[in-house]
Symmetry: C2
Subunit: 403 residues, 2 copies
């Protein structure tokens, strides 16, 4: 659904005050004292910043425990502890993917996200439960947000036989992106894992977004194998490496040659700005012309209690992690949760220019930096010209939501 709207007195990216006319879901004019056809609603921007809709480029909509009783976390320290703990408890905790993804999606929209890329678990215990649940949810939420699905072999692709067949099924059902995970550390067969996920990409003509938590030399090795296949298979611009902790290694002799090839092959990097792990250096990556997006990752799930889906807060985390302090550096953190994310998701018509889709966030404040650090609840969110959330209240209610 698209709508028409006249926005009065907004400041695009914190610049001078202007009016913005939206027709049929697209920005058609900006300027002083615009008028609109009869019947088109007018919204007084009150001098708010007008920002492009936030891009949540890495989350797990099927994992959140939002709206469920508080989960007292006693999980073990290893990555596999968390993977197994979650898989074994999903049904016991009543983590219905449709319901939980609906709750998180509404919350994300209320914070200002207009696009989500979600990894969705595919494993032999749950089959298409997650994929089908998210697909049902996104159909019902399509007026407030666009959701892209990455079929994600969270529990490993090869170590649990039958998973690869399910990945084929998930792609046939309409998943947009192929997922993968730590080819050394989880599947313990980097060649086998990467050959399999790249084959899925080739078979279905889809992009790849692979989780790579592996640090240091191991991560650099896996990354090198990803680079090799990206080049050999002509997948330039079609690969995202999420987390990429190895790029946060202090060893420039290890990292710099990787960065050169990542730029050459237009591989995108996703970082959450993790405080406790080595993190890809966004300033150096962006300076090299590499697309860098961000995301909430799992929010309030069996992995940990943090997160809320607010991509302005995520920009703060990315800024803090990368020591962004100056206005120009804060702009980089902002770009990562907006325009850079849009590039990674290859969104058509994203932005504030005339002709762009009117996916917008209005927020009070003087500057982009203020918007990021204040994270005020006073937000208005516009999707295709329609106001879909106001002061943290969406036009949609999630299942079981009281108010």
């Amino acid at each position: 659904m698209t709508a028409s709207l006249l926005l009065r007195k907004v400041r695009p990216m914190g610049g001078p005050v202007t009016d913005v006319r939206i027709a049929d879901g697209r920005i058609v004019a900006t300027g002083a004292s615009l008028s609109a056809p009869a019947g088109v609603p007018t919204e007084d921007g009150g001098g708010c910043l007008m920002l492009p809709g936030l891009v949540e480029a890495h989350t797990h909509l099927d994992k959140s425990l939002l709206g469920l009783p508080w989960y007292v976390n006693e999980v073990g320290p290893k990555l596999l502890d968390k993977i197994d703990n979650e898989r074994l408890n999903k049904r016991r905790l009543n983590m219905d993917p449709y319901v939980q993804s609906f709750r998180q999606t509404v919350q994300s929209s209320q914070f200002g996200s207009t696009h989500i890329r979600s990894h969705v678990d595919v494993d032999t215990d749950h089959g298409m439960w997650g994929i089908e649940g998210i697909m049902k949810m996104r159909e019902e939420c399509r007026d407030i947000i666009d959701v892209e699905i990455v079929a994600f072999p969270q529990s490993g692709l090869l170590r649990r036989p039958g998973t690869l067949a399910l990945m084929h099924e998930a792609m046939k059902l309409g998943s947009e992106v192929v997922g993968g995970l730590d080819p050394c550390a989880i599947d313990r067969d980097p060649k086998g894992h990467l050959d399999a996920v790249f084959d899925l990409c080739q078979t279905y003509g889809k992009a790849l977004d692979i989780h790579l938590h592996e640090p240091g030399e191991m991560g650099a090795f896996s990354f090198d194998l990803i680079i090799e296949r990206t080049r050999a298979l002509g997948m330039k611009g079609k690969v995202t490496v999420s987390h990429a902790f190895c790029l946060g290694s202090p060893d420039r002799d290890l990292v710099d040659p990787l960065i050169d090839q990542i730029a050459e092959l237009d591989i995108a990097i996703m970082t959450t700005g993790p405080a406790a792990r080595p993190a890809p250096p966004i300033k150096r990556l962006l300076a090299a012309g590499i697309r860098v997006c961000s995301g909430s990752d799992g929010i309030r799930d069996t992995w940990g209690p943090y997160g809320n889906g607010d991509m302005l807060e995520r920009a703060m985390f990315v800024g803090l992690r990368n020591n962004c302090r100056r206005a120009d550096e804060m702009r980089l953190a902002f770009d990562v949760v907006t325009t850079e994310g849009a590039k990674v998701m290859e969104l058509d018509g994203y932005g504030l220019a005339v002709g762009c889709q009117a996916d917008l966030l209005l927020v009070p404040g003087e500057t982009l930096a203020e918007a990021i650090v204040s994270r005020t609840a006073q937000r208005r969110v516009i999707k295709r010209g329609r106001i879909v959330a106001r002061d943290g209240v969406s036009i949609l209610k999630a299942p079981g939501q009281l108010s």
Copy 2:
């Protein structure tokens, strides 16, 4: 000022529901269906968590730009760039220490802090401007919060002649703690700097809280000199080292012997949970019996735009930085912003036991972890038995505050 109050239906630390009776500013009874003398107000806790007041153990009340026009930060990358930039712009930016500290203090109280330790700049450009301003503010704010002052030679103690005399003046005016700063990196004379600050401690019979940003081997060297003086001068339990990035070095052969001596001499460590720097490992430090507190550091100042004075948010940062995920780990992050901070500040009668001073925070939620990650604005803050802030609105207004 102290007050009496009957709290109904609160859950101390997330435990079972109880009533709490407060008389003359102290907790005098807990239990079911308590009654209070006529005229004592009753507050329905509604099943909220009852937590001890948050302890802001490291901030800079004289630095915040709260309430001033947004500062567009273009400062250089070095620590000295930030130091000089601030000192040269304080008057130009109208950073009146009384006004700015008042604004931050009210905001801190609204978030639930009941105690603040603030470093306050002492330098040859501004003399006692900061110390006197904070002292005036804390007198006017004494009903909502207790403020302790660290005289802080931000611009260096020896490199700018005349500063040491001003430090003496600040101590004579009634500063409670002697401050110091990077004896190698800023003053470039570790022996001279440390001898001077320890001499101030000895002269005035006060504790030390020294900023130590120096990383790795340099920081370990400075820390070793601090340890040497702490032992030689009998200052066990009277020294805090703030930031202590060197303890975040991955070199256990460097760090572990330091930790042993820090524990032996009961030196306290302050960490903000910095995402972009090596950070003291709170789990290991607490396990060694070391007092570990936290603080907001500067909030929204010329150093950077981040921070708001919310010590629940700070617990989140500390938790994220130290990879706290499980409930028991979240408890550590919570302790750091409450009981541990109280130990560092040597607060008498801090806590939730009968007899303790009724400095409390009521916040909705099921668990401590939920309180930390939700950071809801629905908070009630109690200082010596009186409700001093409700849903983010203080009983005090800062100068120039509209609502």
